[in-house]
């Protein structure tokens, strides 16, 4: 059992927790993920590590309530325990030797983009961050991003905060204005990453994308997380989660990601109803 040491809502649907897991805290690097099960008989879900505190022995996770498991997790409080917490899994983001990088985050993906931006900043890389949200209420981690970015741009779909529009607009502008990025690292919804790649590819700016497909075990055993990258099948859990964005078949990844949507929607409703009953 793994203790929830702190819990903090970041916006109405996104929550941050620090979980006591000293072995993982000691090892995890930016870009790696963990798999957790909230309860006995619960499903295993992957979440990217949002940070670690080696002294406290805690691992930070940030999740959006999207389905039954995250709903149940969000009902857990500080001092309570979750059943299973395993990691660090996957290959850390390759950041060595990069001089100037643009980190592009979207929505809750910013939680994963942040530790990458921080790690880059710590090694002396010039970091430009572009983050996008649907609206002002959903903005998370702005101060943390500002603290580790040499340039920072925030976008909202409805213009209620920062600039109005999508993240690819300022990205394209920056590239066109002569910002010579060694790399663009993007983490967010598949559709956003697909368009980031469409933006960088004409300029041939190397682009790393972080994939988060459906997984069961997360150790290379099931192959459920497979993707087509450069015409070859790769397992996101052991070969990734980072891949060369130019080579990823996003349309296939989106189809695969939607396979259990109906089941998930129903399970989420059931979970919500369960909590409503408890309240009554």
């Amino acid at each position: 059992m793994y203790k929830i040491v702190t819990k903090k809502p970041l916006n109405p649907t996104v929550t941050q927790m620090e979980i006591e897991a000293p072995y993982i805290a000691n090892k995890a690097k930016a870009g790696q993920f963990i798999i957790l099960r909230v309860t006995e008989d619960g499903e295993r879900i992957p979440l990217t590590v949002a940070g670690c505190d080696k002294e406290k022995g805690t691992v930070k996770i940030i999740f959006q309530v999207v389905g039954a498991t995250t709903e149940i997790l969000n009902h857990k409080n500080e001092g309570e325990y979750i059943q299973d917490f395993v990691g660090p899994l996957g290959v850390p983001t390759h950041i060595e030797g990069l001089k100037k990088v643009c980190v592009v985050g979207g929505g809750v993906g910013c939680a994963i983009a942040l530790p990458v931006a921080q790690a880059l900043h710590e090694q002396g890389t010039e970091v430009h961050s572009i983050v996008g949200f649907r609206n002002k209420d959903l903005v998370i981690l702005e101060d943390d991003f500002r603290a580790c970015s040499d340039k920072f741009t925030i976008m909202t779909d409805d213009g209620s905060y920062g600039d109005k529009g999508v993240v690819t607009a300022p990205l394209k502008e920056a590239i066109e204005s002569g910002e010579n990025y060694d790399m663009v690292i993007t983490i967010g919804p598949l559709i956003m990453m697909k368009f980031v790649v469409a933006t960088t590819k004409p300029f041939n700016v190397p682009t790393t994308v972080s994939m988060n497909p459906i997984m069961v075990d997360g150790t290379g055993m099931c192959g459920g997380c497979r993707l087509t990258v450069g015409g070859k099948t790769k397992f996101a859990c052991v070969d990734g989660p980072d891949f060369n964005g130019f080579e990823v078949d996003f349309d296939e990844a989106m189809r695969r990601g939607a396979y259990y949507r109906e089941f998930e929607r129903k399970a989420h409703c059931d979970a919500c109803n369960l909590f409503k009953k408890e309240v009554q």
Partner: protein
Amino acid sequence: MPNMSPKKNEMPSQAPDVRNKNFLEVALGYTQEAAVDEAQRCLNCKHRPCVKGCPVNIQIPDFIHQIVEGDFEKAYDIISESSSLPAVCGRVCPQENQCEKFCVRGIKTEPVGIGRLERFVADLHNAQENAEVSKPAPNGHKVAVIGSGPAGLTCAGDLAKKGYDVTVFEALHLAGGVLVYGIPEFRLPKSIVQKEVDGLKALGVKVETNMVIGRVITIDELMGEMGFEAVFIGSGAGLPRFMNIPGENLNGVFSANEFLTRTNLMKAYKENSSTPIVKAKKVAVVGGGNVAMDAARCAKRLGADEVYIVYRRSEEELPARREEVEHAKEEGIIFRVLNNPVEILPNEDGNVGGIKCIKMELGEPDESGRRRPVPVEGSEFVIDVDAVIMAIGTSPNPLIKATTDGLNTQGWGGIIADENGLTSREGVFAGGDAVTGAATVILAMGAGKTAAAGIDEYIQNK
């Protein structure tokens, strides 16, 4: 006077059209009467050929003799001297290729039902109240075991009995390895595996789940600051293979590992499970081994109307146990042998709609000694299905190799170990599927046993 009946006592089983709708165990086990009657078929041969057929050397005629005598607990003790998982092996061992293959009764008639007797003895023992287990006196040496499948559990058990302080590290949330994620409930109830794991814990073995060795702790760290004097790698062969044919990444194509893990480990067959599984109506399972049979029979139980086994060689060459093939046929699984998939076709929603196969014929024998299947040109045809399960084998997981300097492996990934289980690294032993590639539970147990002896010798002579 031995019982000269030419046939084994039949194994009572759930009727095929009942069991193919539930996940309860298929075979129900011998009654005491049937067991004694079957035991009396043993001729108690002087040269004991059956023992040579057993990878862990169970003294078979001795335990069978105790059944005849009615001392079932003594029979259990005799099996336990050689095997740590009798209730498991009595169920999943391919006895027809091992002990029973060499049984003298088998020359003219059916061999003695050794596996069924082993199961009877183990189940009877397990049904009793847990006897007080006496923990062996500690010898002060620490050993780490990576993986809690049959190889790891056996190695851990043997070392614990000698007084070693053993910690088993398991990557998943539940101990048991392939016994819990792979082999379905209806063939090996999970309560039996749990009982074996609990037995090890009672001996003092520590089981740490959620520990992916290589990532969270390396072998160097285990043997360095963590103070383990030796390590046994029993990490299995968990990496699924695919055919690399078009359409393999369509929704509705699964590795057998994924399908079985969802079904067994994550209990997706239960109504209230939070792990989803797609309940397909027409399913093709590609492959002809035990894993393919398990996947096909699970698919049927999950409600599929038509389940096909698609296998490129002929029925003769099916690598699955005969008994599993027969069980599958009785349950209505359709065998399409001498067919090889060439493409998986989408339906209008972009999910699996069919599997295109080509007919095969048998040519000259290949390096495995089996006749090589050769495609019949122009014979392609399509089977309409809404799910495809690939059960064409697995490879060892490369994680430990990738994170352990100086650990030599074969080109295909198997860890190289000598006859004592020792690898190219001092104090690091390995065995089971991680060394051999996918094989059987009993061979993995045998390897775990050998390595335990090797580790004991290594530490005592250090």
